[in-house]
């Protein structure tokens, strides 16, 4: 897609001029990168090619910020491992039965760090350069998963920014000993404290939220709570989370993942909740599940809520789906939400890009603007709406101005041009 040539004497850290890109707003631009950051964006032909500058011809490709994978589980996928057929629960969905099945699977799986790396590769190759991964941390596995995932984050630090969430898959109060382990996980390097269905799993909404927000306050970290609890039971807990967020002044640092209840209640109830969520600066994550109600994306966004997205599980003990492509996820969000107009398709794209960065609290170093890291994706698409419906297979991923993947194939370190 792109042809790089040196205009003068090449240097490893030479400036690079990216020519003939199209921005999401339609502008045809050239873009200059120096020291891994964007240093100029000008109409095509205005930027001089100085001695020593590499030139990359983008031939009109759509240049967009990298995708934000806002919810993934790096410790549990079988990407890179052998196929594990899905086993349904014996009598309807049951979290504890699924966790037991997962532990059985993981006991015989390829090493966790190897599988996690293959999953990061999958995401990188598709254009994701910002990620939030939940890691199972509680009295079950203790800190063993985190001990495997932390080095993976280090290995990939030059390629992708990864936030880790200490995720109590077995619950907190119902998994005695987990409080201290979760706290230790933050000390070890987790960026966010997680939670899971305080009502149905711990049977104690106040109790679980006390622990989560206490750790968040003491450690100065954000919150991201899995919440599958249904209907008004889910909405009630979202309200509780909003109240605590405002009480602690944590607006912009708290997220609720899944939040199924918002998609199950009446539109009026969802609207009322949306106003509270927006006023509390709480973000909502949805992966647009296939056969389950999910939060009304347009309604939430109209109320001012930051809606972000993620692959969630990719080919693991919970389901076999997922390809790590957040542009395909934007397509799914649009398809599931009935988004047909250009503004709606742009909204679906925003969910996997800028809104994702906002939810993760990383907007400062994100976007296509002077001074930002030169992280971007070039797509064979005319504009964002076409990219969302077409999910182009032709794409090139740039990190700090260097090619790291082309058409879903990662460049070897030596070939990161």
């Amino acid at each position: 897609m792109a042809v790089r040539r040196n205009a003068g004497k090449g240097q490893v850290l030479a400036d690079t001029l990216f020519k003939n890109a199209r921005m999401a707003d339609g502008r045809a631009i050239d873009l200059l990168v120096a020291g891994g950051r964007i240093t100029a964006i000008e109409p095509v032909g205005r930027l001089p090619v100085l001695e020593g500058t590499s030139v990359v011809e983008l031939a009109g490709a759509l240049l967009v910020p990298p995708f934000v994978e806002g919810h993934i589980h790096l410790d549990t996928s079988f990407i890179g491992d052998s196929w594990r057929p899905h086993k349904p629960c014996t009598d309807g969905f049951d979290v504890r039965e699924r966790v037991a099945f997962q532990e059985e699977n993981l006991a015989t799986a390829a090493p966790m760090d190897y599988r996690a790396a293959r999953q990061v590769d999958l995401c990188l190759a598709a254009g994701t350069l910002r990620m939030r991964s939940h890691v199972h941390v509680d009295a079950g596995p203790g800190l063993s998963h985190l001990e495997k995932i932390l080095p993976v984050r280090e290995t990939y630090r030059d390629l992708i920014d990864i936030q880790l969430v200490a995720f109590p898959q077995n619950g907190i109060l119902s998994s005695p000993g987990s409080v201290e382990i979760l706290d230790e996980a933050i000390a070890m390097g987790c960026d966010v404290i997680g939670g899971l269905d305080p009502a149905t799993l711990d049977r104690d909404i106040e109790g679980q939220l006390d622990v989560v927000f206490d750790i968040a306050e003491r450690r100065g970290v954000g919150v991201d709570i899995h919440l599958h609890d249904p209907h008004m039971l889910g909405v009630f807990q979202i309200e509780q989370i909003c109240d605590r967020t405002r009480a602690l002044g944590m607006q912009g640092r708290v997220a609720v993942s899944h939040a199924y209840g918002l998609g199950e209640v009446s539109e009026a109830a969802a609207k009322k909740a949306a106003d509270l969520i927006a006023a509390s600066g709480v973000a909502i994550m949805t992966n647009a599940p296939g056969n389950h109600p999910f939060p009304p994306v347009a309604l939430l966004r109209a109320a001012g809520v930051t809606v972000f997205s993620g692959s969630d599980n990719i080919r693991d003990s919970w389901w076999p789906y997922g390809d790590g492509d957040m542009l395909n996820r934007a397509n799914m969000i649009g398809y599931r939400s009935g988004f047909y107009t250009d503004p709606d398709l742009e909204a679906a794209f925003d969910v996997v890009t800028a809104a994702g960065a906002a939810a993760l609290g990383i907007s400062g170093d994100y976007g296509i603007a002077i001074g930002k890291p030169a992280d971007f994706v070039c797509l064979a698409a005319e504009h964002v709406p076409e990219a969302v419906v077409g999910v182009p297979r032709q794409r090139t991923v740039y990190r700090r101005g260097r090619t790291i993947a082309e058409n879903f194939v990662l460049a070897s370190p030596a070939n990161r041009g």
Copy 2:
């Protein structure tokens, strides 16, 4: 993916030995093609390489029958044309308003045969070699669309088998003069007579079905009726269609497309309808829409109903979605249906392959077996469940034993190896 080499003196119509393929049932096989048909399937290494035989090394690729696109609209897509932003209806969905918008769009679009050809190219490149396309035929456009699409079918006859449905987009009774035009469309070469929402569009269920089944009986063609009518109003019409199908002995030659009602009624009502549909040999088409209830695929299949699928509209005046990849459609069917186990994923695959061929009445010349046309797709996947969740980008499409597309790029006629 595949490397072809001549074992002896090459001839244009030389036999071809496809080596090291994996069948859907897991067998590792070699497959011999002569005169465009499959002449032998044997365990790897058992077939001798005779003088003059070309050899194609498949390196363990999954070899499956070509995809069946069971419901598409070749006349209305803007694939190959400029982007046309979606315009929502002014006050909720209205068929006649959408048709008016479509006519406005088509008036300024690229030539219909050109756009149709680009849509066929899109489908071919993904591995579809059997297709049923609806073509708008009624008192509105008259036979003008059909006159453009018939030559496209001829142009592509060596590459893909296309059935055409005379589709009364404006209704039949409510579009005076349409009866004779539909009848003439069959005389001109349509294979199937269509219909559309007898209740809500024509306000006369018996009246529209009288016309449709009268033409079907007189002309000896099958029936495929678009039915979006909701809830029990839809189910009632399906029952009427079933009754007529049995009365005329047309089992196996009638389909209902969309059949939304089946996804909107209680499970008990759907089950009762499914038994009647199965007993009547009526097939049900669903594209697994994103934000609308759709027929319960597993329930219907369990009752013995042939469920098939199609892209439906691809980037046209009705919605902007669609990529022409029926393997991606199988993924969507599975995702939307909550299919997680291997047998369920295999069912989703069956919907876009063998069940599609059955619905179109073309099973005789379909499948991977001795004597069948050498039409197949090779996928970079271990097995069918993995293909459905992974939707491999690496794939090669063979028609009569010759490569016609690789990784979504069509081979030029000179390069059809």
